[in-house]
């Protein structure tokens, strides 16, 4: 009789423990995803903030490149107004900004005096540093989202996710600009 009671108690306890563990892991991962997205958002804002200084420095040298500079300023404005979430709209806006910055750096390639400007070089290095951090943070974010989604869909944690309404999370894909934007600096 005692044995039967013990087996029944165990049969009840095991699913409860599994469900609690799944719930706690899903909560932890959802919280991490939110925190990581905030980190990416901060780095993206830093990149937005670098653009006016880059444009100001470039406009002193590249007086005939107004279109490129204006396109970059417009791309920055669109990126600042885009969703605060990792949506396709945000991805498109940030990729346009990347293209705008690539265009500006291509202009710099044609103006050696601009490339030699210490302030411009410093800004370019800062930009690449920020972009390196964006790439790393974005990869961390995507790996965590993938793990969260795996848990959300796999048995038995999918039952917990469904019961408590854990929503799907979206990955955040961007072009990797750091390699193209890097200045040539010796270690």
């Amino acid at each position: 009789m005692m044995l039967l009671a013990a087996v029944a108690a165990l049969a009840l306890l095991v699913p409860v423990v599994l469900a609690t563990r799944s719930y706690n892991l899903l909560v932890a991962q959802a919280t991490s995803i939110d925190a990581m997205w905030s980190g990416i958002d901060v780095e993206l804002q830093r990149r937005h903030d670098l653009v006016p200084a880059l444009v100001a420095t470039a406009s002193a040298y590249a007086t005939h490149e107004r279109e490129t500079l204006e396109a970059l300023v417009a791309a920055r404005a669109r990126a600042r107004e885009a969703d605060a979430e990792p949506s396709p709209g945000r991805t498109a806006a940030e990729d346009q900004l990347t293209d705008g910055i690539t265009g500006l750096l291509a202009v710099a390639e044609a103006h050696p005096e601009m490339r030699a400007d210490a302030h411009f070089r410093e800004l370019q290095q800062l930009l690449v540093e920020v972009e390196d951090r964006i790439v790393a943070s974005r990869r961390l974010y995507n790996v965590t989202v993938a793990s969260y989604e795996r848990r959300r869909r796999a048995f038995p944690s999918n039952a917990v996710a469904g019961t408590f309404g854990f929503e799907a999370r979206r990955m955040f894909e961007l072009h990797d600009p750091a390699a193209a934007h890097r200045p040539l600096v010796s270690i």
């Binding site: 390196d132 943070s137 990869r139 790996v143 270690i187």
Partner: protein, 264 residues
């Protein structure tokens, strides 16, 4: 009849008790002599130089790295060799110093009674590369044991730091202070390099040093014992140094610039 048999057994036990340590000592002497000969042959090839201390630093210095076990009371390096390797960093070739050696440490087991303790020497092979810029913080890539791998296969990933490669997550765990830096280090190329060539080896980046510790991906069978592992572990360390992504070097350079300016 029984007494006679017992007598023979006692004499046999005494014989084994005397012969075994003698045999052990002779075998050790032969092993050391063969290793010395192999070490001499390795140096004769002219690619490696013997080093009294690996990269001029005492064993105590290397023992401060987590990748090298310190043992209960003692540790030391043996058969240290050094050479220069060429590594391309951010499209520029750099000459880096590298040392390889066999690392010994004592393992006294779990028994605490003083008399029951028996010192057992353990050993592994290590290579150390001197980096041109210090790593902004320590990153250690530790191979998972068979139990961890089996548990991972049954109950899923271990729940710690993960990268994109499932194979990497099953084979290694990563210790770090800065997860973004760890992610910069473990790009797709580095993940591939570690999974395909360095399973079972521990990789650690700390300050100016890159350590690769453990049985190398291959060995030179023409050289006896640990000496045959030395060229291979150097080659593995060179491959890891070469696989360090540019983003990691940029982060390291910026950190050094900040330190030189006196900032954080």
């Amino acid at each position: 009849m029984v007494e006679e048999a017992l007598g023979w057994m006692v004499w046999a036990a005494i014989g084994v008790g005397v012969a075994a340590p003698l045999w052990q000592r002779t075998a050790d002497r032969v092993r050391r002599r063969r290793a010395r000969t192999a070490f001499g042959r390795l140096l004769e090839r002219g690619q490696l130089d013997a080093a009294p201390l690996p990269l001029g630093k005492a064993d105590l210095h290397w023992a401060s790295f987590r990748a090298l076990p310190v043992g209960h009371t003692s540790h030391h390096s043996r058969w240290a060799v050094t050479r220069t390797i060429t590594v391309t960093i951010e499209s520029e070739e750099h000459e880096l110093r590298v040392a390889a050696f066999e690392w010994h440490w004592d393992d006294m087991g779990q028994r605490h009674e003083e008399r029951a303790r028996k010192v057992r020497w353990r050993r592994t092979v290590a290579a150390i590369v001197e980096l041109p810029v210090p790593s902004p913080s320590r990153v250690s890539i530790v191979p998972l044991g068979p139990t961890d791998t089996m548990m991972g296969a049954i109950v899923g990933p271990h729940g710690g730091f993960e990268v994109e490669s499932h194979e990497f997550n099953r084979a290694f765990t990563v210790e770090f202070r800065d997860d973004t830096l760890a992610m910069k280090l473990l790009d797709a190329g580095m993940q591939h390099r570690l999974v395909t060539s360095l399973q079972g080896q521990r990789v650690e980046l700390d300050e100016n040093w890159l350590l690769v510790v453990g049985r190398p991906s291959h060995r030179d069978d023409s050289l006896y014992g640990p000496v045959g592992d030395l060229p291979a572990v150097i080659e593995d360390a060179r491959a890891v140094a070469q696989a360090i992504p540019d983003a990691f070097w940029r982060a390291a350079r910026r950190q050094r610039e900040r330190l030189l300016r006196g900032g954080r």
